[in-house]
Amino acid sequence: MLLIRCPYCEEERPELEFRNAGEAHIARSANMAGESDDDFEKFFFIRSNPKGIIYERWRHIHGCARFFNAVRDTVTDKFVMTYKAGEPKPAKLPGASK
């Protein structure tokens, strides 16, 4: 069971309290009704599924109930960092040398 740092509770909490909510930073268009088929396809169906660093959403559903964002390495399954919903994608990751 992983420990995940909740940016709202400001501490690491057991994975059981959390739920994954898919890839992060996929914004819903302000003009949803006007989206082209291609744009809608990208928005709704296409996900990156990278090997390595992934940006994803988690919800501390059995804790503070907030959604937040996390950076996780899909190879090591280690969380690199977490940050609050609405905050931009971090420009630089802690400990990243590459």
């Binding site: 400001e10 501490e11 909490r13 057991p14 309290e17 059995h62 804790g63 503070c64 109930a65």
Partner: protein, 197 residues
């Protein structure tokens, strides 16, 4: 139409003062093991309070206690406890039967107050093995360093969500939704006998 009028009349005349009997879930249940006792707590007034930062002062004033702003914390005053559950969410319990919603109704600052007195059932888990009993199904660190007296958190117990409040070094209040209360009591009973061993 005549029928409707009759109904209207009936509504006016037969308004009975007779109150329906309250039947709290798990009423009277308790279990004692060597070092821990689990007991259902009497009904209490409960409210889910949601508000932005700017409204906290006004709400604190109306409620007569300072709403806590730190994660995993609570505030107690005169039978009233406010638990921080999230950055804009408090769970307020009044054990003296005072009307929490009425207090908040006076506040014009932005907020949402919803009555949940009947939604939850509360248990007390007390004794030297209280933390061990809860740790049978709760994955959080319940040492006094990590979860001191007054610490409060929504979390997990077995297969169920609970709100956990440490009321003393060796006592906790466990709140769960009404329909989960049988599960929670049964779980805590089993856990209590194991924690005592």
């Amino acid at each position: 139409m005549a029928k409707a009028a009759a109904a209207k009349a009936a509504a006016k005349t037969s308004a009975s003062a007779a109150s329906a009997e309250r039947r709290p879930a798990q009423a009277g249940r308790s279990v004692s093991a060597k070092n821990v006792r689990v007991e259902v707590l009497p009904p209490a007034e409960r409210m889910s309070l949601r508000a932005p930062e700017a409204s906290v002062a006004a709400l604190s004033k109306a409620l007569g206690l300072t709403l806590p702003k730190s994660p995993k914390s609570s505030a107690v005053k005169a039978g009233r406890t406010a638990l921080w559950l999230g950055p804009d969410e408090w769970f307020v319990i009044d054990e003296a039967g005072k009307d929490l919603l009425a207090d908040c109704a006076k506040v014009s600052a932005l907020h949402s107050a919803v009555g949940i007195s009947h939604r939850n059932v509360a248990f007390t888990v007390a004794g030297p093995a209280a933390a061990a009993a809860i740790n049978a199904g709760c994955p959080q660190d319940l040492s006094l360093e990590a979860f001191p007296v007054g610490a409060a958190s929504r979390t997990i117990l077995g297969k169920c969500e609970i709100v956990l409040l440490r009321t003393a070094a060796d006592a906790f209040r466990v709140e769960c939704w009404r329909s989960f209360s049988d599960y929670v009591f049964t779980f805590l009973s089993e856990a209590a006998s194991d924690a005592a061993a």
